[in-house]
């Protein structure tokens, strides 16, 4: 029994794990040669958000809210690309299933969706760069460290979080 972690300890552990899993797919998403990488990264971001929502009470403070928002941005940035990936795959499969002389309409549709998806990749790459810039790992380490200090001590005039945020947000 006594080997069970506390709620906060477990939350810290799970959030770190989910964050690592999410970030581990970034290179595959950038390469874009396998649609599963993007799917996996998006699913990992959703799982991470579920964990953040569950353990929010263990990490009071505005930096946690900002962190949550940045993770949601990952899910959102990959959403449209994922929807297109799924659609292209399904359309291709369906196209194969009808008589050859009836495929022209489906074929045009697949081509149009492929073009949309290729265009989207630029946005995906931009989102990945943004994620890197936001130092999610380091920021969560700090959140976790501050969470175990009694709250009155944790309030500082200039929180060290600022140093880890992109300049545009520290104004």
């Amino acid at each position: 029994m006594s080997d069970l972690p506390s709620f906060r300890e477990y939350g810290t552990q799970v959030i770190r794990q989910s964050l690592e899993r999410m970030l581990s797919h970034a290179e595959g998403v950038r390469a874009a040669d396998d649609i599963e990488a993007l799917h996996d990264m998006r699913v990992a971001s959703r799982r991470l958000r579920a964990a953040l929502s569950v353990f929010a009470a263990a990490f009071p403070g505005p930096e946690f809210v900002r962190f949550e928002r940045d993770v949601k941005a990952v899910t959102d940035a990959l959403g449209e690309a994922r929807d297109l990936d799924v659609m292209i795959e399904t359309l291709e499969r369906l196209e194969e299933s009808i008589p050859e002389n009836e495929r022209a309409g489906m074929h045009a549709l697949v081509e149009a969706k492929r073009k949309q998806r290729a265009k989207r990749q630029k946005e995906v790459r931009r989102a990945l760069n943004e994620i890197e810039r936001r130092n999610l790992r380091e920021r969560f380490d700090l959140i976790a460290a501050l969470a175990v200090i009694p709250r009155t001590e944790a309030v500082m005039p200039n929180t060290p979080h600022q140093a880890l945020l992109p300049e545009s947000e520290t104004a």
Binding site: S2, L4, S6, F7, R8, R46, V54, A57, I98
Partner: protein
């Protein structure tokens, strides 16, 4: 997308089981809140929202799975099935309008936009249109079958008291301090010593000793969380006190496919 509701009463110094007993019922109520729409297969947006709520409940439960037993794992599988059925329904609901747009665009080509040879009986590619139309109809039929399957699976879960049992399971585990059927240690290790400086009084050993004084506090917000936060689900007959432990084995019953 509907946002996840906040859960009142979660105390980071309380045990994992005590907090799970507050959080899981709220996520379950968020899923149940969409139940009122499911008898109408044309409620496309609501079925999609229900899928999102199912996914949220599933991921939340999976976070706690290491601290519960096989009944809990079986419950996750049931939620996953529902979520996947709703996912397939949604995919069809997205796909058919896209194919329909392509179909109508192919038939409605304005005379000016036609190529020189697209004239007279050749004004449109009817074969291409036939292909698209056939697929639209096929997808609609598949969707209707999927919907019926989903509805049957959901109604069966409800008839079996799935959510009542789930709530009873997490409530009982919260009282006992661990999940039923859990054998040995959970597959999670304690966090590194850095977080231990504070010796949280919520480490389960402490939770057991301090049980009598902690419990009322944990139980009261549970009802508040259910009442305040889940207004949408409250009229679907969801009481937090229903159900009994004896129903746990119902998770194993029946097939959802």
């Amino acid at each position: 997308m509907a946002k996840a509701l906040p859960v009142l009463g979660v105390d980071p110094d309380n045990s994992i089981h005590a907090n799970a007993a507050l959080i899981i019922p709220v996520r379950a109520a968020e899923l149940i809140a969409w139940e009122r729409y499911i008898d109408d297969p044309a409620r496309v947006a609501e079925l999609h929202q229900m899928r999102i709520a199912a996914k949220r409940l599933r991921y939340t439960m999976e976070l706690f799975a290491p601290f519960y037993g096989p009944e809990f794992a079986a419950a996750i599988e049931r939620i996953k099935t529902i979520q996947e059925q709703l996912g397939q329904i949604h995919d069809a609901d997205v796909l058919v309008p896209v194919m329909t747009a392509q179909l109508t665009a192919g038939l409605r080509t304005a005379p000016k936009k036609r190529k020189p040879d697209e004239t007279g009986v050749y004004c449109a590619d009817f074969d291409a249109a036939a292909g698209l139309l056939a697929l639209c109809r096929r997808k609609r039929d598949e969707r209707e079958a999927l919907y019926r399957k989903f509805l049957a699976a959901w109604k069966k879960m409800r008839a079996n008291g799935f959510f009542e049992s789930l709530r009873a399971m997490v409530r009982e585990a919260s009282k006992r301090g661990r999940g039923e059927g859990e054998r040995g240690r959970p597959s999670v290790r304690r966090a590194r010593p850095t977080t231990e400086g504070r010796t949280p009084n919520a480490v389960p050993g402490g939770g057991r000793n301090g049980k009598s004084e902690r419990e009322p506090r944990a139980a009261a917000p549970a009802r508040r969380a259910g009442g305040d936060d889940t207004g949408a689900g409250s009229d679907s007959g969801e009481g937090f006190e229903e159900g009994g432990l004896g129903q746990h084995s119902l998770f194993e019953e029946g097939d959802a496919r």
